[in-house]
């Protein structure tokens, strides 16, 4: 059938669409960094540096050149896969990103898992009983979740579960001091530890993950639950649900195989948005939980006008975003046979 090439073409088209976005990102991130206050040369020169040494460093960093020249140098570096060196951490940006990105992704991923596990059932429950007290309660609960500033939730959770109750391990990043990080395979500690067969470490890494993931997850409950509810409501009103019921299909079959699978499509779109949203919110959560992720890196870099780091961060995020959208498109085509067939 013609289905496969058509879908492939769709994915290819999406990739093409990403190109102007990437160019836009490169330009914006460049301009944004140059607009940052502070002189990286001064910062880089360190305390008590003399004017000449600052000037010397400015030249060696290429900051004495005109903006267009700097831009083309930057693009040239990018094309060679060079992201430069972060002045604030002293590491090549690429290394930083490759070690920190998995940390952020692990956190965000777990947060979303948690969020989906809570929000989707809530949404379904609410949709099957619209305007009942359950519906109102669900709405209330998820709205409460999104109303709290993440850093506040995080601190409150730390205070309660670590400081007062002692149930949760010390919020000191991805792994307690007692454990060594597992051999690097995926960069996700829990998964790497499991691959390594080290269940103890996996458990410890998971324990570290719970509080930050819940903090972040609470924040993302609302959009998922709301979308699930709305989509389910709409689908449940559909004629084909009536047909299925008239044909005597059982309640579960109707609800899950018929309604939910249709409702999942808009939910997937929302998930994509929530994911990129959560990556932003990560910044705050990582700060609270000393999570060595990409978000806290970005904050530090911004505050000290670390050009290379900020640009690298933004670029990697944009790539992630493009990949994410592709994934969503692919998921879509897997779930929805109509895609690419209609105009």
């Amino acid at each position: 059938m013609v289905r496969v090439p058509k879908r492939l073409r769709l994915v290819g088209y999406r990739l093409l669409q990403a190109i102007p976005v990437l160019i836009g990102i490169v330009v914006v991130s460049f301009l944004l960094t140059r607009a940052l206050p502070g002189d990286p040369a001064v910062y880089f020169a360190g305390p008590a540096a003399s004017e000449e040494s600052i000037e010397q460093i400015r030249v060696s960093m290429g900051l004495d050149r005109s903006l267009p020249v700097q831009f083309f140098a930057y693009v040239g570096d990018l094309l060679r896969g060079e992201l430069g060196q972060s002045i604030s951490t002293g590491q090549p940006v690429l290394t930083e990103l490759t070690t920190r990105l998995p940390a952020s992704l692990e956190l965000t991923g777990f947060a979303l898992l948690f969020s989906i596990a809570v929000a989707m059932p809530l949404g379904i429950l609410a949709a099957t009983r619209p305007n009942s007290w359950i519906d109102h309660l669900c709405r209330f609960v998820v709205t409460a979740g999104v109303s709290l500033p993440t850093f506040f939730t995080g601190l409150a959770l730390v205070y309660l579960f670590y400081f007062l109750l002692g149930w949760s391990p010390a919020p000191m990043g991805r792994l307690d001091i007692l454990y060594l990080s597992p051999p690097h395979v995926t960069g996700f500690y829990v998964i790497d530890a499991l691959i390594d067969g080290d269940f103890e470490t996996a458990r410890a890494a998971l324990a570290q993950l719970i509080l930050p993931a819940v903090t972040l997850g609470l924040f993302t409950l609302a959009p998922i639950a709301r979308m699930t509810r709305a989509a389910m409501l709409q689908v449940l009103e559909g004629d084909f649900i009536r047909t299925a019921r008239a044909a005597g299909l059982s309640g579960n079959k109707v609800l899950y195989t018929y309604a939910l699978r249709n409702a999942i499509l808009p939910v997937i779109t929302t998930l994509g948005m929530v994911f990129s949203f959560a990556l932003g919110a990560n910044v705050l959560v990582e700060k609270v939980f000393a999570w060595p992720g990409i978000g806290s890196y970005a904050v530090e870099a911004l505050v000290v006008s670390d050009y290379a780091a900020v640009q690298g961060f933004v670029l990697s995020m944009a790539l992630l975003f493009v990949i994410l959208n592709l994934l969503i498109d692919v998921t879509y085509t897997l779930v929805d046979p109509r895609l690419g067939m209609e105009d």
Binding site: I25, F277, V283, A298
Partner: protein
């Protein structure tokens, strides 16, 4: 607007609220917030800026309902007075995002073609930044004044309106009533502004209310990383952010009360959404 239509609207509003108790609750809370914003400075028992070392870090009491902070300022007064600023930040940011975003989206959705493609890529570019980080960048680059916080918040909210407006306008651009409007001699711009755009409002209302809450949270987050509103201006986010450091040492009230205020406001805005939509949706009118 005639008297009868005002009455009609009031009746409709009452109906919307009685039908959905959550909306009624939200409306009540909203009223409270507006009162605090308008009359706050006149109502509070203490000068929200006045420091007094001798009464620093007192826990809540009759004199100081929400306790005092590390400089002896009355937390209650600060929380109440902060309402105006927070409300203004969120209103201004959302209004700006709504006006610009929906205009962009509507034009893109209606005319399609290049306008659409360029807007689409532009929005994708904005969306490709983790939004909070973009806001941080803008504020860091432009300086942390209240205006810049508003601009940053508006920029990151813009794509939501633009996308929504685009989609909503797009599905209506060939609707029967639009064709009819063309026959009646309406030009493109008039059709867009008078016929199509008002019809996109109900779903946008939900977005507006969600974003109002989000705008406050965003400002709070910026404060937390030190890029928010400048001290000593009372603002919930910065109060929570500063108070957060006092939680572990037991001075919970510093973060708790502004946190609750913040949460309540965001909560109210979020809950208000559905009610607002029902209010502006003529279909729901009887």
């Amino acid at each position: 607007m005639s008297l009868s239509s005002v009455k009609n609207f009031a009746r409709h509003a009452r109906y919307v609220m009685t039908e959905n108790p959550v909306t009624a609750l939200a409306a009540l809370l909203f009223l409270l917030i507006v009162i605090a914003a308008v009359a706050g400075p006149a109502l509070v028992p203490y000068d929200p800026m006045a420091t007094d070392g001798s009464r620093a870090l007192q826990s809540p009491s009759w004199d100081h309902w929400f306790g005092t902070d590390h400089l002896g300022r009355d937390v209650f007064s600060r929380v109440v007075v902060a309402t105006r600023l927070d409300l203004m930040i969120s209103l201004a940011a959302v209004a700006m995002a709504f006006v610009i975003g929906s205009a962009m989206g509507a034009v893109a959705g209606y005319f399609g073609g290049w306008a659409d493609r360029i807007t689409g890529r532009l929005l994708d570019t904005i969306m490709a930044f983790p939004l909070f980080v973009l806001a941080m960048g803008v504020v860091a680059a432009a300086g942390n004044t209240i205006e810049n916080i508003v601009y940053a918040t508006a920029i990151i909210n813009l794509p939501f309106y633009a996308r929504m407006a685009r989609a909503e306008v797009n599905i209506r651009r060939n609707a029967g009533f639009v064709q009819a409007a063309r026959l009646s001699g309406n030009g493109d711009w008039r059709i867009l502004a008078q016929h199509i755009f008002p019809n996109t409002l109900p779903p946008m209302m939900v977005q507006i209310s969600l974003n109002m809450g989000w705008a406050i949270l965003n400002a709070a987050g910026l404060s937390f990383i030190g890029l928010g509103v400048r001290p000593p201006t009372p603002e919930w986010g910065i109060m929570v952010a500063e108070g957060a450091n006092f939680i572990v040492s037991g001075e919970w009230w510093l973060a708790f009360f502004p946190g609750v205020a913040l949460m309540l406001a965001v909560f109210t805005f979020n809950l208000l959404g559905d009610g607002l939509r029902d209010l502006v949706d003529p279909q729901r009118r009887t």
